[in-house]
Structures are given as structure tokens and as C-alpha cells.
Symmetry: C2
């Protein structure tokens, strides 16, 4: 790696402005309590020299880093197929940027990477962590707790029952699912199937619970487990069709799954929504608007989730509510 040209230090600026380092430091950090004349002189010197504070030196004394780790622990498949991840990142990035914080991205490939993440967190490089996509049996939270660093989880962690001090942001998965199923019911459908997500994630489990809230004693054969991918959605739909040819409605755990289901339905000559009405979850425009027919779905504001997670973390977790649940809304298009 080529060396960077030596950058001017506080010292240099002080010399040029004819003041002490302390004064320059004050000006650079807001400049209260410094005479206006001096402030200007310093600012000019900063300008002329192109001075930029050395973050390492600053962190060394302040013990702050103005950096937040974002940890994504997710099997490849989903992260790549689904714009979900990118959207959350964007929200987080916006909020962090607005507060002059940097985003350090930690992608994990599996258990092997956990030690590394733990070490990094314990290393005190960042002021906090934002963690996604935890599965029920994930050891990551344990590590993170041990690192003793402020953390906000994206999505309700499966193990949080009882654990205190766990802060998370989630969508109203259960309520959204209820809305979806009720909408189907309102359309006169009675044989409503559900293709779930991976049930070791709370978002998927909660949506299933919502489905069951409304379909109190539904035929258990109407529920098929999926994993949030289109491929599996298609396969699940085929299984459902074979098992319950009389079904007239489907609530898919996310839009990708719904897209897969739509394919299977078309393949089997079922018209949507005439024969079978379909509702998705997420409202990812590039997916929901592109399906044939366009998808009726439950919208969650993913970017806002990201933004909120960052905001909570930056504000300080001491007075933060444990869980924040964001509302969802049903978006009607053509599939139901």
C-alpha cells in the first residue's frame, strides 16, 4: 500500500495561526470560549493547510470512535436474493452519516467467523453494534453480550424472553400477517394457505402466529414451511396444491415466496386472483410490482427500521425502550 503524504498536525496549524495547540483544538471542536478573531485566524490556517484531525489520536484520548459495527449473520442465499439487506443498510447509513459516524460492516459466513467478530467487538474499535438476522440458536448474541458493547438488534431476537436490556427494532409481523389473512377472508376466501419463512427466525414465526390468530382452526395441511426464497415458495405452492387442491387463498411469508408461489399457480393453470388470491409480505417494489399479477402485500418500512436502529444506538441505550415495533400497512394491488 502506498504511503499517504504526511498530513499537517494540530501543531502546524497552531504555529501558522500563532496560537497554542489547545486553542486550535477548541476551534476544531466547536470553538466555544474562543474569541471570534482567533476562531477566524485558526479556521483560515486550517483551510490553508488542509488540516484534518487524526482520528486515531483523538480516539486514543476520548475513547470514542464515532463508528458503529453492522453485523450481518445470514446464510448467503437470502442476503443476495432479497433487497431487504441493502435497504436496511441504506437506512442505517443515512442516520449514521447524519451524526458523523462510520459504518463498519461485518459479514459472517458461519460459525467460524464468530470468534473474529467477538474479538473485533471486544477490541473496542466501535462505539456500538447493530445486529441482524439472528436465528434462534445463534451464539452471536452471547458473544456480543460478553463484549459488553451497546447493541441494537434488527428483528426481535428469539431468545430475548427474559433477557433484560435487549434493545431491538422490529416490524409488526404478527399484526401484518393478521391483516393479510383478514383481507383474504374479506374477499370471501375460506381455504387460505400459508407458506412460512424459516421458522427459526422470529419474523417468520410471528407471521405464522398472525395467520393462526385469524385462522383459528385451520386445516394444518394448509401450512407449508418455506425459507423466504422464490424457489422454495414455488416448491411449497406445488406441495400445497397437491395436498389441498381446493385452496382459494395464499398468504406468503414474504414477496419473494409469493413470487415463487405465483409461478407454481400459473404452471397449474390457476388464475390469480380469480381462482386463488395471493398476499405477500414486505412490499419490495422491484419484486411486488413486477410479478404477474402485481402483488397485494403487507408493507414494512425497512429503511426506517434501519434508521431507527441507528438512532437508538446513537442516542444511548440507557433510556431506550427495549423493543420498538414499527407498524405495517396492507398495499392492495392485483393479486388479492
Amino acid at each position: 500500500m502506498t504511503d499517504t503524504a504526511p498530513r499537517p498536525t494540530l501543531e502546524a496549524v497552531a504555529a501558522r495561526a500563532g496560537v497554542s495547540r489547545a486553542t486550535v483544538s477548541r476551534v476544531v471542536n466547536g470553538g466555544d470560549g474562543v474569541r471570534q478573531a482567533l476562531v477566524e485566524r485558526v479556521q483560515q490556517a486550517v483551510e490553508e493547510l488542509g488540516y484534518v484531525p487524526n482520528q486515531a489520536a483523538r480516539s486514543l484520548v476520548t475513547k470514542r470512535h464515532d463508528a458503529v459495527a453492522v453485523i450481518v449473520a445470514e446464510p448467503e442465499s437470502r442476503v443476495f436474493a432479497d433487497p431487504f439487506f441493502a435497504r436496511q443498510l441504506r437506512g442505517i447509513s443515512k442516520e449514521l452519516t447524519a451524526h458523523d459516524n462510520q459504518l463498519v460492516l461485518l459479514l459472517t459466513e458461519g460459525r467460524g467467523d464468530h470468534a473474529r467478530v467477538g474479538r473485533y467487538l471486544a477490541g473496542g474499535h466501535v462505539d456500538g453494534a447493530l445486529v441482524f438476522s439472528l436465528h434462534l440458536d445463534d451464539p452471536l448474541p452471547e458473544l456480543i453480550q460478553r463484549a459488553g458493547i451497546p447493541t441494537v438488534f434488527g428483528g426481535r431476537p428469539g431468545w430475548s424472553g427474559g433477557r433484560d436490556g435487549v434493545v431491538y427494532v422490529d416490524s409488526d409481523n404478527r399484526g401484518g400477517a393478521r391483516d393479510a389473512v383478514r383481507h383474504l377472508l374479506g374477499l370471501g376466501r375460506t381455504r387460505i394457505a400459508h407458506i412460512t419463512g424459516p421458522l427459526d427466525q422470529t419474523s417468520a414465526a410471528d407471521r405464522l402466529d398472525g395467520y393462526r390468530d385469524v385462522m383459528v382452526d385451520a386445516d394444518p395441511r394448509l401450512v407449508e414451511e418455506g425459507d423466504f426464497t422464490a424457489r422454495t415458495g414455488e416448491r411449497a405452492m406445488r406441495a400445497l396444491l397437491a395436498r389441498c387442491p381446493d385452496l382459494d387463498g395464499v398468504f406468503a411469508a414474504n414477496d419473494l415466496t409469493a413470487a415463487g408461489a405465483l409461478r407454481a399457480l400459473r404452471e397449474h393453470g390457476r388464475r390469480v386472483p380469480d381462482d386463488v388470491a395471493v398476499v405477500g409480505f414486505d412490499d419490495m417494489p422491484p419484486i411486488a410490482e413486477q410479478t404477474e399479477p402485481a402483488l397485494t402485500t403487507v408493507r414494512q418500512d425497512i429503511e426506517e427500521m434501519g434508521r431507527l436502529m441507528a438512532r437508538l444506538l446513537l442516542r444511548g441505550l440507557d433510556h431506550a425502550p427495549s423493543g420498538v415495533i414499527l407498524p405495517t400497512t396492507l398495499v392492495r394491488r392485483d393479486s388479492a
Copy 2:
């Protein structure tokens, strides 16, 4: 943000092991030239105290950060619709992780963010930068050059002609495009249309060039500009169909565009591949395998691109080749 418990310092470890700070430092950093007995004593002290080096203090003296900035300058639309971004990130992350480097993600929302990025880069927080998705008129490279920090670009920068010392990694877009069109020709198609990407990006321009290489004097009306999104691919296909109803082949600049084209084709009652053969570009499995019919497309190894970019940067740019072009391969499925 809650404070982290005060962590033990080198000093503390030294005291406990009964050696000097220098010795501890040596052990922590590889430990060559230290008697085995001492090494073990120090390691045990480290263990017992749970010592982790303070990165800020270390950077302050070494002037290295073991961190790389990844800058993504891309209008929302594409980053979110396309798994492209996530894949490259994964490749980069893997390589960086393997070399104990951190990934600092900088997402820009537009011109307004450029100053911030420039400041960050100039701030000397990172040892290098990886930059994506530059458009022809993008001022970002300028800023980056000024920051004087080692940089590798993802995709051939549009302005690199003449500029020396620009290092980039790209796919063989032009060659891949030629393969795609030749394949269509080999199928006996003669009226082959092309839906381009945004032509201010070299990847799109190069693919168009590749198309023209083969279709030397093609009817110019067979070319329609797109922007790498499905929606636009659909619209472009409609326009093409209206203008040249006799077309029998389409080369779409990427898979998403091809997916959109497929929709338009279906809507117009054209059978694929019988009436119109379609070839895409990228080979994004979640897209290419899910279209109806499955997409014949030009594969590029996106994750490898990311990995290679990181590798070049970490190895040091001084002896790096200016441009590295990765090969592409045609993947036959059902659409052509």
C-alpha cells in the same frame, strides 16, 4: 452510548508477566525474537487479563489502520433491485477478513455526499479505498485522487483514458456481449435487438460495443437504451416490438433487463425462444433461474471481482497491473 469497562493495557500485562511493555508488544505482534519461556508467560497474562490491543494507540504510531473503505456511489434504484452489490461486498469482505482488515462502508446519496467522502478519505482513517459504479461525469475519482489514497475501481472508469496509475477490475463486457450475440446468430436469428444499460457506465457502453462488433451494420432501430432495471427493460422491449415487429432475437444488457423484456414479450404473445430468443448478462441465479423461461445469459463472477479488488489493494498498488479483466462465459438455459 454506555461506556465500556476499562480494558487492560499493555502495561498491565507487562506487570503481571513480570516483563517490560516492549516484550509484551513483541509477543502480541508475533513474538519473534523472544524466549519461548517468556512468550508463554506473556500469553498467559494476556489470557488472564483478557487483553486486547487498543487499535487507536497502535494506529497512532504505525500509521496503518487495517481498514479499507468501500464506496458505493449509485442511485438507489439499481443497488436495491440487483443482488450485484451484495455479491461484490461479500467477495470483498472475504478477502479483507482473511487479511484482518476491516470494511468501512460509505454509501453516497448523491453529489451532496461527496464532500463528506472526500473528507473521510483525506482524514486518513483507512489504508485504501474500493470504489464502485462510477458514471462518466462523476466527480468522485477527482476527490479520491486528491486524497492521495490507494484505490481500486470496480469496473473500468470512464475517464481513465490517459490517466495513469488507475487500477481497476472489470469483466470482459465487450467479449461477453460478442459471445451473446454470436450465440443468437448461431441460432439462426438475424434481426437481433439490444437493450442497453445506462450508457454513461462503461459496462453498458462496452456491452453495446460488443453487440456492434458482431452486428456490424445492424439496423440502428434495433438498439434501445435502458438502465439495467426490469421496468425499463419491459418498456424498451415494447418500444422495440412496436418499431421492429420482425425482430427474432434480443440481447439484454443484464438479467434484470432481460426479465423485463420477457414480460413484454409474453404480453405481446411472442413465444420465447421460438419466436424471439433472449440472452441476458450477469447470471444472477435468483433472477436468471426464476424467469419464464429460464434465462440464457453471460456469466461474470462478481464475487471474484470483489475479492480481486481487495487483493490488489492489500498487496500494494505499486506493482499492480492497471486493469484486470475477468473472463465471462455463456450459460445456456431455455430462453435462447
